[in-house]
Symmetry: C2
Subunit: 242 residues, 2 copies
């Protein structure tokens, strides 16, 4: 049994009691919240050990009393960004409504903190809020006849898709008003400048047709479309289930 890394001990409140020395002056949640605030305001690249420390009134190295590395700080940030799931499922609602609600909830949290898509997590999440969301997602599929392995697969697929959709949308600059002067804004201009219509017929067609006017609703519409695809797939899986 390996003992827990520091930040997990703190997040889960697993500190041994009766510890000597001064009480810690901050909480990791507070530190994470400060980091999140910086990321929301100035972008993820503005989050450094120094800037976060300053935001909580610390010197740089003091942060290492709460977190062993910047990567761990990022895990805390993600947990703060998720927050605890606040909604509950209507009694009587079916799995499709439930998991949709859940997916929308996750998408909403992530959309409020778009920098989450820039985080690279080299380890699976073990923080309280993220695990709470996972639990909530599994619970949405509780009434289906699927095995828990299938439920986990389905949930991971949905979560993964939602996350990826946000990622792609952020890349394309579709999450806010489209600025035609920005490099993303004239993506179409650049692409048509590059590709040979004979070598890239499908792309040429798709470009002129579909991406013609990516308006503000593009993100939401695409979200519903893709989610519908996945839910139909899950429905098919359930129907053919023994």
């Amino acid at each position: 049994m390996t003992d827990l890394p520091r930040y997990l001990q703190l997040l889960w409140g697993r500190e041994p009691e009766g510890r000597r020395g001064p009480k810690p002056g901050r909480t990791i949640e507070g530190i994470g919240a400060a980091a999140v605030e910086i990321a929301d305001r100035e972008g993820l690249e503005a989050v450094s050990m120094k800037s976060v420390a300053r935001a909580v009134g610390f010197t740089t190295m003091s942060l290492y009393r709460y977190v062993d590395s910047k990567e761990e700080l990022e895990a805390v940030m993600l947990d703060v960004a998720y927050g605890a799931p606040t909604f509950t499922y209507d009694t009587g609602s079916g799995w499709r409504d439930r998991i949709s609600l859940w997916a929308r909830g996750i998408a909403q949290r992530r959309l409020a903190h778009p920098w989450t898509v820039e985080l690279i997590q080299s380890a699976p999440p073990l923080t309280p809020n993220v695990l709470a969301w996972t639990e909530h997602g599994l619970a949405a599929l509780e009434d289906t006849p699927l095995t828990s392995e299938q439920r986990l697969s389905a949930m991971l697929a949905i979560d993964g898709w939602a996350q990826n959709h946000l990622r792609q949308s952020v890349q394309m600059g579709f999450t806010g008003p489209v600025d035609p002067e920005s490099p993303q804004g004239n993506y179409l201009g650049l692409i048509s400048q590059l590709i040979d219509p004979e070598r890239f017929p499908q792309l040429t067609a798709a470009g002129s047709e579909s991406l013609g006017d990516p308006d503000d609703n593009f993100y939401a519409e695409e979200f519903d479309r893709g989610m519908g695809l996945l839910l139909d797939g899950i429905a098919a899986l359930i129907e053919r289930h023994p």
Copy 2:
């Protein structure tokens, strides 16, 4: 009409002819390949302007004659990692076989260079090989009655899911032999140490049942399962198409 960033000019062979001065001693493709080799061998964090420059026999700053920033270098790396799609679709094969083949092809390339999931692309891809794969994916759906907008959506959903599955698998350490000593290896140990079975009943159940023995085939099996979900969804979309 904005003019192209340097690395795109080089990748697409759009340099003006009759240029003065010495010929460039390297190609971006070569530089990208060197960077890919470093990433394959020592991980993405070992890729620095210095290390790449040394690998091609340059000083650090010389790289900036080919690329305006490290981010552009990463775009080149991704393009090299993808390579050009080499396969063709069987005549007579249906869309389902075709897009499956395509998805497998992409997954294979990415799996050969797992660090691709760590790349954060802040702009949509405009490099030749990546666009060639996109074209190839759209062509797989050519025979379906879907609009090109729907085809694009479907393809993005599949690609996104494949990419995300790889990302999650890499995080979990499922892409290679499982080392129980590594932090990912005893993920289950850690999780069971943290969660209260009463507050996290679904997770507890899922953990003990499904993740019991994540063997080498877990990645591939999960890939097929999720892909099946998506393809079923697309099939449903096609059936109800006017």
